[in-house]
């Protein structure tokens, strides 16, 4: 009869040839984490910067340009549960908008799900389309790209007009954090819970390939509800947060 320790020692020896992973193996996970960190920086809280006036984005011009360019965005609008050609049919969806960069689904209960795909697309066009689509689905959305310089964020968005926590939780399940599945950020919004005049702010980012053969990595995984549609400032340094309890 072996001692009690033997069971653990025998178990410890089982599959002991499984080695430590290479850095190359760990790199994609680290990259995803950093992408999430960058997105989170884009909405780092606690800041109280000056509030710039919101300037209405050039939606019409962007849409015209997108339509004429034609290549980047294959826009499909549907009404009712039936799917358009090339579109995944899912029962219960009242409206689905699909582009090469993202998909927006509005369920029959009003819930809006945004899938940000791997590549956000040409600067401005896809975000303008997404913004407009979300507004059509009842989500007063403000979307801004996080500037990336040399692989790092050039600045970060610091909303001064964040809605109270209870509102955040009601509008954005999972703290407004998207779920990454198969390189697609899946974000859920409950427009019905948005107070009058409020807006959902979504920073999106897009890392260029860091080496040949690598694909761009893009996404948005961190949303925040604003009390109004004032666009947050993009700042290079976050102000020192107030001490807790202050």
């Amino acid at each position: 009869m072996m001692s009690k320790t033997d069971e653990i020692e025998r178990t410890a020896a089982f599959r002991a040839t499984v080695g430590s992973p290479s850095q190359a193996r760990l790199a994609p996970g680290r990259e995803r984490l950093l992408a999430a960190a960058v997105a989170d920086q884009g909405r780092a809280g606690g800041a109280r910067p000056a509030r710039p006036r919101w300037r209405r984005p050039l939606l019409a011009g962007g849409l015209t340009a997108a339509a004429s360019a034609g290549a980047a965005a294959a826009l499909v609008l549907t009404n009712g549960p039936a799917a358009a050609p090339g579109q995944h049919a899912t029962a219960g969806h009242s409206r689905t908008t699909v582009t090469a960069a993202w998909t927006v689904r509005q369920d029959v209960n009003g819930t809006v799900t945004i899938d940000i795909k791997k590549y956000v697309g040409p600067a401005g066009l896809q975000t303008a389309l997404l913004e407009q689509t979300l507004r059509a689905d009842g989500v007063n959305a403000i979307i801004r790209a996080v500037p990336i310089t040399h692989g790092h964020t050039a600045c970060m968005y610091a909303p001064a007009n964040e809605a109270p926590l209870a509102v955040q939780q009601a509008v954005l399940p999972n703290d407004g954090v998207g779920v990454l599945q198969d390189d697609v950020w899946d974000i859920v919004v409950h427009p019905g819970a948005m107070p009058h005049g409020s807006a959902v702010f979504m920073p999106v980012y897009n890392f260029p390939p860091s080496k040949p053969g690598q694909s761009a990595f893009a996404g948005a995984n961190s949303l925040v509800v604003l009390t109004n549609d004032t666009v947050p400032a993009c700042v290079t340094h976050l102000p020192t947060p107030k001490p807790s309890g202050a």
Partner: protein, 195 residues
């Protein structure tokens, strides 16, 4: 100067999110090896990535007073993710017990395994795999955290959010079953219960 501990890194990362990558650099390899021993390296890739993304999202709620070492927290998150693959894990353990070919190992690891002169232990490992497959999910988790993750009873209790006494009782059950299997008195009559 000593490097900052995990809890300090987590606190920093609340204001400087990219600091969280330090935690990844410290613990991802060990966590990957643990997950790979349970489910294979491909599944381990996803589990490690998802573990750190989940931890990152929850970092503001981390209690630095409870633990300066983040390993129990990370292994606890990983345990939840691994738990979703329980059926796969059991199937692979059984496949190994039946065939002697471990689906978890890569060809390179299998070759390394074969290179070890351990004809006797190979048979014992098949018995062990069969016994591990019969363990209750919680019992297996505790045993493998002790044997493979080198966590203490208290750390496992923190990881799984259970009392230390429960860790002891689960480990005791697991040991009893493993001992019986390796002694030849096969306790694996519950083979089908957990699948």
């Amino acid at each position: 100067m000593a490097p900052p501990d995990d809890a300090t890194i987590i606190e920093w990362s609340v204001r400087d999110p990219e600091a969280f990558a330090v935690l990844y650099d410290r613990h991802a390899a060990a966590l990957h090896r643990y997950a790979a021993r349970r489910l294979g390296e491909s599944a381990a890739d996803d589990i490690v990535a998802d573990t750190f993304l989940t931890a990152f999202r929850k970092r503001a709620r981390y209690d630095p007073g409870a633990a300066r070492d983040a390993r129990p927290w990370l292994y606890g998150i990983a345990a939840n993710l691994i738990g979703k693959h329980a059926r796969s894990e059991i199937r692979m353990l059984r496949a190994y017990a039946r065939t002697g070919a471990d689906p978890v190992l890569t060809p390179r690891e299998t070759a390394a395994d074969d290179a070890l002169d351990r004809v006797e232990s190979a048979a014992a490992h098949r018995d062990l795999a069969r016994a591990l497959a019969t363990l209750a999910k919680g019992d297996r988790e505790v045993l493998l955290m002790i044997a493979w993750a080198d966590l203490s009873y208290a750390e496992i209790a923190a990881a799984l959010v259970i009392p230390v006494g429960t860790v002891r009782s689960r480990l005791n059950r697991a040991r009893t079953r493993i001992r019986a299997a390796l002694d030849g008195s096969n306790p694996a009559t519950l083979d089908e219960v957990f699948l």
